[in-house]
């Protein structure tokens, strides 16, 4: 039997609506407008949010069998592996307990010293635990979707960390889920501090088909940087809290034709296949608003060193 394809419905002769060509022109124009609006003007957030909400039931239904399969797979994980994981976790907990005790003591010491020096309290940001649902299907970018959204209090721009370092930043917030752009995305950058030398720089995402990483651009060839250096967040951006581990330098390539080095780093967070993450509140939101410059000339004059008096001291 040949695969026949003719239909019995008689075609309407006169009522055929606008021609396919005119529809092509109109819809292509709308698509192009949407792209420009999305990329340059930033107008499409409400539309995207509305479509995402409409699409959520389908996504939810699709995710149920996946999660069920994962649950079954987890159930049949051998006892030996479960015990091993538990032992690992306990060992890490013990290590961390040691550091935690030290940390408490040092925090107290730090607070006292800061009080002595009359400096501002360090900002601590609230955090929300979340689970990574899936990688976005877009092969042109590096993003993941987490199961916390606007209704759980996620704000766009919040830093996201996993158990070993900074993972990325929340870039789009939907009512029930949000999108996290990973550090290795090409459009993502993060200010870092070299813990060995104290030099600050900016790490840019450098994805490629064969291996994703980070790159420290504009590192002078005379700069003191070595393979194995640990990079942490510097905290001067007002987004990431300072001191979070980010990456480790894996390769420093001297280039004869340029005055800059090519420095490649490997992110410490598991950018592939991490499951549980922590969304921190952006640091910048908790800073007090800058005072008006006219309002405080007297205080500036009273300050011996000038400059720093612009930031008001925190209330005791």
């Amino acid at each position: 039997m040949p695969l026949g394809t003719l239909d019995r419905t008689p075609p309407p002769f006169f009522k055929q609506g606008p021609s396919a060509l005119s529809k092509l022109v109109v819809f292509s124009a709308v698509s192009l407008f949407l792209m420009v609006a999305d990329l340059r003007l930033g107008l499409t957030a409400p539309l995207r949010s509305a479509i995402a909400t409409a699409l959520y039931p389908v996504q939810w239904a699709v995710m149920q069998p996946v999660q069920a399969a994962m649950g079954v797979g987890g159930y049949f994980t051998s006892l030996h592996r479960a015990q091993q994981t538990e032992a690992d976790a306990l060992r890490r907990l013990a290590q961390q307990a040691d550091r935690h005790l030290q940390l408490e003591q040092m925090e107290m010491e730090n607070r006292q010293l800061r009080e002595l020096l009359a400096m501002r309290e360090r900002i601590s940001s609230p955090s929300i635990g979340a689970q990574v649902l899936y990688d976005t299907a877009d092969p042109f970018s590096r993003r993941v979707v987490i199961d916390r959204g606007q209704t759980h209090g996620i704000v766009a721009g919040s830093p996201v960390i996993d158990e070993s370092g900074v993972l990325g930043q929340v870039t789009r917030v939907y009512p029930l889920v949000s999108e996290v752009t990973l550090l290795i995305d090409r459009n993502q950058s993060i200010p870092v501090l070299n813990t060995r030398t104290g030099v600050r720089s900016v790490a840019f995402g450098q994805p490629s088909a064969d291996g994703d990483g980070l790159e420290l651009r504009y590192t002078l060839s005379s700069a003191d940087i070595e393979e194995g250096d640990l990079l942490t967040t510097s905290g001067i951006d007002g987004v990431y809290p300072p001191g979070l581990p980010v990456a480790r330098v894996t390769r420093v390539e001297r280039r004869a034709e340029s005055s800059f080095n090519r420095v490649q780093c490997e992110p410490l967070a598991r950018v592939q296949g991490t499951l549980h993450v922590l969304v921190l509140g952006p640091t910048g939101l908790q800073l007090p608003p800058p005072p008006e410059s006219e309002a405080a000339p007297s205080r500036q004059r009273r300050d011996r060193h000038g400059g720093t008096a612009v930031v008001p001291r925190s209330a005791p």
């Binding site: 040949p2 003719l6 529809k23 819809f27 539309l47």
Partner: protein
């Protein structure tokens, strides 16, 4: 309507079946992304094949506008730039509608060969748009997708035409 000799006269297509097949194709795309392949570049786009199929077989019901709408859904699900799939599907649907009278005179494997440029064009359009807006090159496996989609065409043809091939007068011996 002119018919080729030896071809079966089909039952009229069910509107609900057409729409549900499109939604199921979208769900299968999502399932592949969520559960199986993540963001691998070579994954075939079943929704594109289904859209081309219905644009060719039922151009009065499924056309450029429907393709545009499903493109937007795809964009939002992927978290991609809004409009890239919409544009690709729009162009693909237009050419599918334009070639629908010619295509149905061929046997299914020949149809698959003729559909291939359409699917390739859709992928190329997405690639060009994204590279122009500063995306990462996803690797050469990206070009594997239209080949897999072409290979899926005969399968899709059989599955989606099956309801229309049922006997017009079902009885005890022919329940379907």
């Amino acid at each position: 309507m002119i018919m080729r000799p030896g071809q079966q006269l089909l039952l009229p297509a069910n509107r609900a079946f057409i729409w549900s097949s499109l939604v199921v194709a979208l769900a299968i795309n999502m399932l592949g992304n969520v559960g199986l392949w993540g963001r691998a570049a070579w994954v075939p786009d079943l929704l594109a094949v289904t859209l081309v199929f219905w644009c060719v077989h039922q151009p009065l019901r499924i056309g450029v506008g429907v393709a545009f709408t499903f493109g937007l859904l795809m964009d939002v699900h992927q978290g991609a730039m809004l409009g890239q799939h919409a544009l690709a599907y729009t162009v693909m649907a237009f050419f599918a509608v334009a070639m629908h009278r010619r295509l149905l005179w061929f046997a299914v494997p020949t149809q698959a060969v003729q559909v291939f440029p359409l699917l390739l064009a859709a992928h190329l359009l997405v690639l060009v748009v994204r590279m122009a807006s500063g995306g990462t090159f996803p690797g050469w496996s990206f070009f594997l997708a239209p080949f897999i989609e072409t290979a899926l065409w005969p399968l899709v043809s059989v599955v989606l035409l099956a309801p229309q091939r049922r006997a017009p007068d079902p009885d005890e011996n022919r329940p379907l």
